[in-house]
């Protein structure tokens, strides 16, 4: 199409010129045919150029300028083609310039409410992303240290004990047997360590059963009786589930350690809001401890929020909201 249309236009222009020559000349009317096609071609070219500007408020200013420029050019051409006289295009030019000036002023003005919101969001995203990266790096370091000090150290001792047992096998079978028993118990301790590390990275129940059952399993292991109620709608992403799980785990850990509560409740609501309530003595300051601050940051990484209501004397309610 893009190749055919210009060809057709040129052909029509030539045809008009021939017709004019054949039909007895006179006023050179084909100039209006040239003008029509020329305007269309110019418009296509200019608007294509203008729309290449990256999207946003500036793009509309460029489109506006293109339209204004085209209008002025067309007016000037018409003025020239129609034989001059009173220079009327001055009015179009003035009007277009005024409009463009106004538009440019509006664009250059300080950003509106929505733009300010977006800017704030970019800042918060940048912060939470760098926070998430820092946390991840710290987390990896912790895992490395746990493995190094725990399972790996035990494996070294295991290899050593097995080597010794091999040495003793002929000379002192009883001693070798003792060492083998020791090796078995070391292997078990290494497995216990590995299990603990794996649980701290990603609780297995969470992987196997999802958030609700993982919180149920967690609640069963706590010293304070905790009821878990409600449902989750849809299937939250693993990142959301993990963030929610560790947030709830931190809250329940605080309930057990600090609140003096005799019971607690975890209620899930759709799409994903978790409310943790306890009957303890209240007075929780979300800014004071590193725990709640940590999970607030962790939640921010998935656009989540944490709200704490904890008057002195209790009860304490912590609401975790994550958009899905």
């Amino acid at each position: 199409m893009t190749r055919v249309l210009p060809a057709v236009a040129v052909a029509l222009c030539v045809a008009a010129t021939v017709a004019w020559a054949v039909l007895g000349r006179g006023d050179f009317w084909p100039r209006w045919v040239y003008f029509g096609f020329g305007t269309v071609a110019a418009a296509v070219f200019v608007f294509r150029r203008a729309l290449r500007t990256s999207s946003g408020r500036r793009r509309w200013l460029v489109v506006n300028a293109a339209f204004g420029g085209l209008l002025i050019a067309a007016d000037l051409t018409i003025y020239v083609l129609s034989g001059g006289g009173y220079f009327w295009p001055v009015w179009t030019t003035l009007a277009v310039s005024a409009l463009l000036g106004l538009h440019a002023y509006v664009v250059s003005k300080p950003p509106g409410k929505r733009e300010r919101e977006l800017a704030a969001r970019v800042t918060s995203l940048a912060r939470s992303r760098s926070g998430a990266l820092d946390r991840q790096a710290a987390e990896l370091k912790r895992v490395e240290r746990d493995l190094h000090d725990g399972a790996q150290a035990r494996m070294v001792s295991l290899a050593l004990t097995l080597g010794l047992a091999g040495e003793l096998l002929r000379r002192d079978p009883d001693g070798a047997e003792k060492l083998l028993l020791e090796a078995r118990s070391t292997a078990r301790s290494a497995l216990d360590d590995l299990r603990a590390v794996m649980h701290s990275i990603h609780p297995p129940v969470l992987a196997d059963r999802g958030l609700l059952d993982a919180v149920r399993a967690l609640a069963l292991d706590l010293a304070v009786p905790v009821t878990v109620a409600g449902t989750i709608e849809g299937e939250p992403s693993p990142a959301v589930e993990t963030a929610a799980y560790f947030a709830v785990a931190e809250c329940l850990g605080n309930v057990v350690k600090h609140s003096g509560a005799t019971s607690a409740q975890v209620v899930f609501a759709a799409p994903l809001r978790v409310t943790v309530t306890d009957d303890g003595h209240g007075g929780v300051d979300p800014a004071a401890g590193s725990g709640l601050r940590g999970i607030t940051e962790r939640l921010e990484a998935v656009d989540g929020r944490l709200e704490v209501t904890s008057p002195a004397g209790g009860p304490t309610t912590i609401m975790i909201t994550i958009p899905i």
Binding site: M198, D208, R209, R216, L220, D221, A223, P225
Partner: protein, 207 residues
Amino acid sequence: MAEDLTLLRDGIVRMLEAYGFEVVAAVGTGPDLLKALLTDNPDVAVVDVRLPPGFSDEGLRAALTARAEKPGLPILVLSQYVERLYARELLADGTGGIGYLLKDRVSDIGEFVDAVQRVAAGGTVLDPTVVAKLMGSKPKLPLTPREHEVLSHMAQGRSNAAIGAALFITEKAVANHTNNIFAKLGLQASEDDNRRVLAVLKFLEGY
């Protein structure tokens, strides 16, 4: 025998055969396991919780599905980690013949084989870790500390004689304690006497 790691599966099969078991099926996936449980009529099954294709809790689900169809089908569930939640689900039907152990326990061959036999005989064998977690939290059951101790041993599938030996008391004294426990938990004697299983279930729920 259901386990997806071939090395471990072959090891356990060899161990079981060395102790006089006949292994009728050794499978590596959840669907194969369910088929074997329902068609091969095993006296007991040893099942890994996490199996292909989903690598989540296919083994556990297959065990629960098979037991819904064949109540009391003895199954010993092995896992890399133990959760009270899963223990409760396994015991919930109250028919016994359930074991739930950490996979590490296979390293103690004598105890492991013993556990397989106790499960095959309809007993309930819970991993010491599960029991220790229970004992660590605040008890809600109206039992004396001694009765708690007896119950925790019962949860690990021990007989009265074995409990007596572990606590240095006579078997008769253990029988006294167990009768008191049954009475306090409101468990009446019945013909198919699965009170031990029900007591363990109360133990799991009562903390």
